[in-house]
Symmetry: C2
């Protein structure tokens, strides 16, 4: 084959990183238990006062992946309540997201590279073709929140490394 | 067209984010000047004692992108000295990297999806086909270091936002 399908560039990428994040959350929950750090403290931890806290970073890993996959395939975006307050609830959120992504078929992505995508960001409406949206908006945004969730956990002292982030190859 | 070329999934993505990072460095340098923060303090800033400092994060944004593009096209990887200690020197590093990437041609990437990639990581040798390498190793690694550089700057107080990270669409 020559080139990358829109499916291959999105669904397996999102699923893999969500699975990596899920394994990192297991380690974070153990770490918090061992150090007597309340889960709430980690949920609310921020790298700067005007950055989003840890739980929101994880929620947006979910939102940015399910939103991208739904928009590219013309499906309704699954809506979740953003009420997760524990590691277990964040795990459920990631698992629901993974399930939605895993339920999509390669065929759902036919023509996704040329599909017109409209995105409301604040008061602005951004318009992309599907390929530009995926490569220059959805993937960087997804990785931004995944990395920032990881960086918050490293900052509070969790001993994880690049291999946890990338997953086993 | 149907699907994404290996060129489109790599070179323009790397170039765009390197240009975004370059603009962020301009803001970081001004910020450091206004607050009387020595450039060295920012260069050496880490989110955790066992994470790499800011200057290394930026160097690895360079390394991960030039390395990926060179491996996928069978070219020699440009080697730089990793001796940058100022904002101006990091800007030059990014500009050299951008120049190398911009000099690559779409034709250089023919067959890159199936090219066999070997990568030494510590004492291990990882083997990938080109597509798996790009999607599941090179891009996540690139975004990891770009986001962590951004997160360090946010943590020390620089007032930038998602729009600086993603760039103008």
């Amino acid at each position: 084959m020559n080139g990358i399908s829109m499916y291959a560039a999105s669904v397996p990428v999102f699923v893999r990183q969500i699975e990596n994040l899920s394994r990192i959350l297991v380690k974070a929950e153990s770490f918090a238990g061992e150090r007597n750090i309340a889960a709430e403290t980690i949920m609310n931890y921020r790298l700067a006062p005007d950055m989003l806290p840890f739980s929101r970073q994880v929620q947006i890993v979910s939102d940015s992946s399910k939103g991208a996959a739904a928009r590219l395939t013309g499906k309704d975006i699954p809506r979740y309540e953003d009420n997760e307050k524990t590691f277990a609830e964040l795990q459920q959120r990631l698992e629901k997201t993974r399930g939605f992504l895993a339920g999509l078929d390669k065929k759902d992505f036919e023509g996704a590279d040329n599909r017109s995508i409209e995105l409301k960001v604040g008061s602005e409406t951004l318009t992309f073709d599907g390929m530009t949206y995926l490569l220059h908006f959805a993937l960087p945004n997804f990785y931004f929140h995944y990395t920032t969730a990881y960086d918050i956990l490293r900052h509070v002292g969790l001993g994880i490394g690049k291999r946890d982030f990338l997953g086993r190859t």
